[in-house]
Amino acid sequence: MLTLTCPCCGVTAEETEFAPGGEAHLKRFGPGSSDDDFEGYLFARKNPKGVHFERWRHAYGCGKWFLAARDTNTLEVFATYKAQTSEPPADVIAKIKAKRPDWEGYK
């Protein structure tokens, strides 16, 4: 079972209290972008076995969106942090690197 701590209200709860929102830190390609970029934005998603950054919403709690860094394989959650970040914060990256030295890094 996945246990997440919402950074907005501080509640630690299991995954049925949350709603998943897919991959985090996507860059939007809208009107005027190339077809390849637009297709990638719409459809291409990472699907790693390992470290992954995701969006979650505390649907049954405070209702806020936040981001989580977790391992898709072990369900270990490295960190949860606020949604208003366009890429993983340095402290989150450091935490992951400490636990997964062979992780290839974000991007």
Binding site: G10, A13, G61
Partner: protein, 183 residues
């Protein structure tokens, strides 16, 4: 004007704990920047504090609960709610804020008894055993959203949407049946 009635009109069930629909309760939702001075001032005029994260404070029969980083729930007497909403709206008119009387959109339940905890434990994934007094926990009971807190040493108060009041009462009644205690 028609008579106001609560969702289940005080329906009560006895089991290893007593579950009851509380009856008419006034509830006001306040959405605002919780750190703003205007909000603190508006609430202070009513004798209420701005609660810290996840806290519920009770002052002279009225409770104010922290619902999310930008939302408070004020619980008061049902007949007091319209005037109180009006006063708070006026006081917060200079802020980017919203005050709404949601009394008739909600249902409230009380679960009373030494083992009241266990009634909710069976229905919610929240860790009720470690829920401190004075903390409100928003979670779910079976399939619907609910918020609950310890309103007394042997009482849990629970708030749900009115539209699912019958469902929540069903849950609580079955969960509180004699002989189904957890420990």
């Amino acid at each position: 004007m028609s008579d106001a009635v609560s969702a289940l009109q005080g329906e009560t069930h006895e089991g290893f704990a007593t579950v009851a629909e509380t009856g008419l309760v006034g509830m006001i939702t306040i959405r605002c920047d919780l750190g703003s001075k205007g909000l603190a001032k508006a609430l202070k005029a009513e004798g209420l504090p701005v609660p810290d994260a996840r806290r519920i404070e009770t002052v002279e029969g009225r409770s104010i609960a922290w619902m999310s980083p930008d939302e408070l729930l004020l619980i008061c007497a049902h007949d007091e709610a319209p005037a109180l909403t009006e006063r708070l709206s006026t006081a917060l008119s200079g802020e980017h804020a919203l005050v709404v009387n949601v009394s008739d959109a909600r249902a409230m339940f009380t679960i009373r008894g030494e083992k009241a905890d266990q009634v909710v434990m069976k229905l919610s994934p929240a860790d009720i055993a470690t829920l401190p007094t004075g903390e409100i926990r928003r979670s779910r009971t079976a399939q619907v959203a609910a918020a609950f807190w310890r309103s007394d040493s042997d009482t849990i108060s629970l708030v749900s949407f009115r539209s699912v009041a019958g469902y929540v009462m069903g849950l609580l009644e079955v969960s509180a049946r004699e002989g189904s205690e957890l420990f």
